[in-house]
């Protein structure tokens, strides 16, 4: 109960008029950079950073983290409205969020996204409040075999998703692995698959690829379908937000499961992107009615958003305790910590109690402030879709292109985004699933590094993946999930009389 006392102390630090105003300012700025083309969270935080040098560290981190929350919410907004994920972790939100928006249910999609994101974030913060000491120690137990097991688990939970033919899924996933292998390889130090293009040295940026695959690809399809954009029918009223809010408790199973997955992936540390994919995959697999996913199911928005934010906020703790940033934005903030004279690392929790608990308290408050503020913006954003496509289409293109440019400020990425746009279009036309490729791109190189590091450590012995209870249980869970569709079929064969007509698996 030491932690609760520390948290109360933290609240007394964070809950001043000055700090609450900073939070509101930060969240608003964050939504702005999250939604506006050509900014994005890392750049926004970088721009704001010099202003914070004259502040005391607590005020500074409150301002920056609030901006970070705001930007995350902003990223979900563009995912749903335009099919453009603002952050890698909001890719899974597009799967059902954008179809909902196209059917004129943007208000609902946005409201669900924001509420479940808020719920997930709070779950993550509660976890680190209660277990702060344990989480940092637990993360230290993770080495390359454990990391590989976590990525394997994420793949396993996602496999077989979206009823495409298995061969098409395999092709899609293999292409993803090939794309992620481009650039400098960590383990051998060699340059791979660049074909003499210097610009490919840094690899293919995941964000550029998804902006092309989803944003531009979708745009091409809409154009082909005669510029129809169903968002016009959207019912936009603040009352609808409130009505949607009341229906949220209906999805408590999805909310809880996704929050658990998010927290687990946050502390292990598989990261928010893996969490959102895994949560989406499991939501579909364990849904009572699995049909309709990918065409605008509420759970398809709630599951990834909850897990994304739960992972994002619970990952803050290992990041501070171990000094390893989880994202580009977090890296910029950590650079700030050092300039304010604080060294991220295990001692931060002992030497800078005020700072750490002030930050944790501000995560509670900041997220509440953020949810209230973004909910207020829902009618505004949803009504964007009522603008005729002739106007909104070019605007989406501008967002895609400038968004791709800001990832690395490289003109070459503009070509990449177009190429991936065409690829996304072709995939959709030929009915190839995009999601497996995206998952392979985001986790592929990490999984590869982890696998090769493990094998270097063990001297080539594969039993390293069953060398202790932690790694063997994660691996076994992964294999169980992988075999799940097969298992359910066997069960049905064994009990033929019972299952006919009652369930579909």
């Amino acid at each position: 109960m030491d932690n609760i006392a520390s948290l109360m102390h933290g609240f007394s630090v964070a809950l001043t008029m000055h700090h609450v105003l900073l939070m509101m300012l930060g969240v608003l700025l964050g939504i702005l950079v999250g939604v506006l083309p050509g900014l994005g969270a890392p750049n926004g935080v970088t721009l704001l950073m010099p202003l914070t040098f004259s502040m005391d560290p607590i005020s500074a981190i409150i301002l920056l983290t609030s901006m970070y929350w705001g930007a995350l919410f902003g990223g979900s907004t563009t995912s749903i409205l335009f099919n453009i994920p603002g952050e890698p972790s909001s890719v899974a939100t597009t799967f059902d969020g954008h179809p909902m928006a196209k059917q004129g249910r943007a208000t609902e999609a946005l409201t669900y996204a924001f509420l479940s994101a808020g719920f997930g974030a709070l779950a993550g913060v509660v976890l680190i409040t209660l277990l702060s000491g344990w989480v940092a120690k637990f993360a230290l137990r993770f080495s390359s075999p454990e990391f590989f097991a976590v990525y394997f688990l994420a793949f396993a939970s996602f496999i077989g998703l979206g009823g495409a033919s298995p061969f098409k899924t395999v092709i899609s996933i293999m292409l993803g692995f090939a794309f992620t292998a481009v650039g400098m390889d960590t383990v051998s130090g060699n340059v791979r698959l660049t074909y003499g293009f210097d610009e490919l040295l840094r690899g293919i940026s995941f964000l550029v690829a998804v902006i092309g695959l989803f944003g531009i690809g979708e745009l091409l399809l809409t154009m082909e379908e005669g510029l129809r954009f169903e968002g016009v029918k959207a019912r936009v009223s603040p009352r609808k937000v409130f009505e949607t809010l009341l229906t949220l408790p209906r999805y408590w199973v999805t909310l809880l499961r996704s929050a658990l997955i998010g927290c687990w992936m946050g502390i292990t540390p598989g990261g928010p992107t893996a969490a959102s994919f895994m949560s989406y995959g499991l939501a579909k697999r364990f849904a009572r009615r699995p049909e309709g996913f990918g065409q605008g199911r509420e759970e398809g928005v709630i599951a990834p958003e909850t897990a994304d934010h739960a992972a994002g906020s619970s990952a803050i703790l290992p990041m501070l305790a171990l000094g390893i940033p989880g994202s580009a934005t977090a890296a910029v903030m950590m650079g700030g910590l050092m300039i304010w004279g604080l060294t991220p690392g295990p001692m931060l929790f002992i030497e800078q109690k005020d700072f750490v608990w002030g930050l944790i308290a501000s995560m509670y408050l900041g997220n509440v402030v953020a949810v209230v503020l973004v909910l207020a913006t829902v009618p505004l954003f949803a009504s964007i879709l009522r603008v005729p496509f002739a106007i909104i289409g070019p605007l989406i293109l501008v967002i895609c292109v400038s968004g791709a440019y800001t990832v690395d400020s490289a003109a070459f990425d503009l070509w990449m985004v177009l190429i991936f746009g065409v690829l996304g279009y072709v995939f959709k036309k030929l009915d190839y699933p995009i999601a497996p490729m995206v998952l392979a791109m985001v986790l592929g190189d990490k999984a590869e590094d982890a696998f090769r590091q493990s094998v270097i450590m063990s001297g080539g012995d594969l039993s390293v993946f069953w060398s202790n209870s932690l790694v063997s249980s994660i691996m076994s869970l992964g294999i169980l999930l992988l075999a799940w569709p097969l298992l359910t079929r066997i069960f049905r064969l064994l009990r033929p009389g019972r299952s006919t007509g009652t369930t579909t698996a």
Partner: protein, 332 residues
Amino acid sequence: MLMKKALTAATALVAALGISAAEAAWKPTKPVEFVVSSGPGGGTDQFARTVQSIITKYNLLDQPIVVVNKGGGSGAEGFVYGKTAEGEPHKVIFGTNNEWLLPLVAKLAYKPEDLTPVAVMAVDEFLLWVTGDSPYQDAKSFIEAAKAEPGKIKIGGSQSKDTDHILVKQIERAAGIKVIYVPFKSGGEAATQLAGGHVDANTNNPSENIGQWKAGGVRPLCVFAPERMAKGEPVVDGKGWADIPTCKEAGIPIEHYQMPRTVFLPGGVSQDAVDFYVELLKQVREKPEWQEYITRTSQSNRFFVGEDLHTFIKNNEDEGRAVITAEGWLVK
């Protein structure tokens, strides 16, 4: 008629250029871009951002500074970018000795000579670290254990065929041992993996491991420098950086191994531009914030420009090349 007009215009232009050159040698006329050859948060990033914040705070430059990260391919992206900006003195590239070591081990689109060296502003030390509860109390017992069981001890480091890997190979040669080198993405990861006991040692820089040292997760055995490090605040249990023996006195015959923090300009820039930045960086070094950065990151405050700089680069490249050639990593 037209010819005449063009001629007068040309002479006027030449005259104008001549005058401005006589008045002030060179100074930036538009925003200056700091190109960081590492991702955000890395050592090179902190270095560049510290320089930027000092220049901004003391108004040492009347043009704004923009920092961009180009850390792809272990930093090669930033150097290739520098090459393509030939003759453009408004782009300053921040890096380490990877500027001249990377092209030795990977086929890249630039050669070390494509950039103009401006200065080395600090050198970062390398240490041999073991886990906090490791049985090895000094470098000698560590080496003996490695000798007893060849290919058993695991040493973690950042990247492959890069500074950490080269150092580990040098240790193997100097001490006559054989170890397993495990490449991770960054020094931060190598630190965490060591604290978690997943590898037996690493060769991190002080700033990468100080957090874990304070917490008891890792412990330094020796430093790869000709003499002990500068005395600072005690870090843990009254022991500080100056109490760490040099690896040479501890029994690993490696005289020195250091990583310089380097500043470059693109190729084909005027000597005046180089002089301008040397002068600017000199002013940066005199500010208390620079001293604070050096102390916080436990680096050595050294400054090489001009002839000294060329000698430094030459020596460092020769040493690196020797290991790289011996390991068969050289690309041609």
